[in-house]
């Protein structure tokens, strides 16, 4: 089953195909932000396939992390 995980946006480089860095377990990882033009630095997004798929609210972040914590046991420190 494919897996997608919420991460925080650290910076945004605007452009026709906007890119950004997200915080994944303390590492800066690049991803494409073209689908989420409304995204701001500090927002949490769901990332898969190298694309931020959606901006998610705080409650959804908590629910998602809880699901990983419960089943996967591999939730990285925020």
């Amino acid at each position: 089953m494919c897996i997608a995980f919420p991460v925080e946006i650290l910076d945004i480089t605007p452009g026709p195909m906007p890119m950004g860095h997200v915080d994944h377990a303390g590492e800066r990882v690049s991803c494409c932000l073209a689908y989420v033009p409304e995204a701001q630095i500090g927002d949490f997004v769901i990332v898969q396939n190298g694309f931020a798929m959606d901006v998610i609210d705080a409650q959804s972040v908590a629910e998602s992390l809880a699901a990983f914590d419960e089943l996967a046991g591999h939730v990285p420190a925020a």
Binding site: C2, I3, Y35, G50, A67, H74
Partner: protein
């Protein structure tokens, strides 16, 4: 067996790995795609209250949460026997499902058709909001129905967007149908959901399977017949090799997704049906199939938005979470194809066993054939472009699928037949 999820593989995409097996004379004996990046969570669900499973799974698979949400709720209803879901609730669920299909198909367009992709996603988001799921994770369905009918003002907003969105989807379909498609060499079956008249129905209650020559293998089976329809050759594996039981494990490989959806039956909406005819005449590639299914989803939403009673109840029937020890199966035909949730439960409504069978796992044999055709008689990097094309065609739900042409992080490992046998 418990599998742990390697989250580094999720954000920091791992390369696609193709394994080419050659015998001692150098002849290719097998080509496979490494699906180990797709963990199975089935074993982790055992012992949990079954009513919690749909929400848990949809939060892990953040890409198709609506498909897992709807398949999971259907599986819960199946556990309880027959739940009569009110017509308004069925319509609201369908809105969510069609919108999620559009949103996912739009993903493959972002690099080549950014404005169109964003327009499709805006429409999909508005429809999902109207269907009761404004956030990323759906909150529309509950066992027995849905939480609420469609709000009239949100319905009107979607109606205002529908006509222009259909034009966008039609333009994309025309472009995709004019492109050259890969030849369809798959000799397995095609599996998709249909309605009770045999028309393609992404939210259907009947499963249809056709052989590569178009003959019927399964005319229309219900979800509660699942155990008679499909078995996994390697149960619990990331690549479980499911097969159609009526055809046997040796020749029962099948394909799901947009190509299968267009091959098993006729589209029930007029514009998509017209494109479907062109698609069949053009040779039938996957990219154009995705575009035709997107047209259908927009049409279906437009039709649903115009049905009376969408904004009024009743929206649910009584449903007890005190479930018997039973087996329940729920499914939807999502953007990438058939998704199945199968739960068996104990007397105290906990999971005794669970199977989450994804489209990517079901399409692995098809992807293997595409890769093998791409490798052909080549011996090195000259096959690379063809391998990328093959992976885009089968569209596994993995990081590689969204890479632009020529930019896929792809590793090709060649092993000898004797090593492969030893490692199996």
């Amino acid at each position: 067996m418990i599998q742990h999820v390697d989250l580094s593989q999720v954000v920091d995409a791992a390369p696609a790995r193709v394994v080419v097996t050659r015998d001692t004379s150098g002849e290719v004996t097998n080509v496979g795609f490494d699906l180990s990046g797709l963990p199975r969570v089935d074993a982790m669900l055992v012992g949990r209250p079954v009513v919690e499973v749909p929400a848990l799974v949809e939060h892990l698979c953040g890409i198709c949460p609506a498909a897992h949400h709807l398949a999971g709720v259907r599986a819960l209803e199946s556990l309880a026997g027959s739940a009569v879901v009110p017509p308004t609730a069925v319509a609201v669920r369908r809105l969510l499902h069609y919108a999620s299909v559009i949103a996912i198909h739009a993903t493959s367009l972002i690099v080549t058709h950014q404005d169109e992709a964003l327009a499709l996603r805006r429409f999909a988001k508005a429809v999902m909001t109207a269907a009761g799921s404004p956030g990323h994770f759906p909150s529309t369905a509950v066992p027995g129905g849905v939480v609420a009918p469609v709000d009239a003002s949100q319905r009107d907003l979607c109606v205002a967007l529908a006509a222009d969105t259909l034009l966008v989807a039609q333009r994309l379909a025309e472009r995709e149908l004019s492109a050259v498609a890969l030849p369809d060499l798959f000799n397995g079956a095609d599996v998709a959901l249909v309605d009770d008249d045999g028309y393609v129905d992404l939210f259907g209650e009947f499963l249809r399977a056709t052989a590569s020559d178009g003959s019927l293998v399964i005319a229309g089976a219900r979800a509660d017949q699942w155990d008679e329809l499909v078995a996994e050759a390697v149960p619990g594996s990331s690549a479980p090799r499911p097969y159609l039981k009526p055809l046997g494990s040796g020749s029962g490989a099948y394909r799901v997704g947009p190509v299968a959806q267009l091959r098993v039956g006729v589209m029930p909406t007029p514009v998509a049906a017209s494109f479907q005819q062109m698609w069949r005449q053009s040779g039938g590639g996957a990219a154009s199939a995705r575009a035709v299914v997107t047209v259908h989803a927009v049409e279906a939403i437009a039709w649903l938005l115009g049905t009376p009673g969408l904004d009024e109840g009743p929206v649910r029937t009584d449903w007890s979470s005190d479930l018997p020890a039973a087996v329940g199966v729920g499914w939807v035909d999502g953007a990438r194809g058939l998704l199945v949730h199968r739960y068996s439960t104990t007397e105290n409504s906990r999971v005794a066993a669970a199977t989450i069978l994804t489209p990517t796992a079901q399409n692995e044999p098809w992807l293997g054939e595409l890769l093998r055709a791409a490798v052909g008689d080549t011996t090195g990097d000259e096959a690379r472009a063809g391998l990328e094309e093959a992976i885009h065609e089968a569209d596994p739900c993995l990081p590689c699928s969204s890479a632009p042409a020529g930019a896929m992080d792809l590793v090709v490992d060649t092993v000898s037949a004797s090593t492969a046998v030893k490692g199996a």
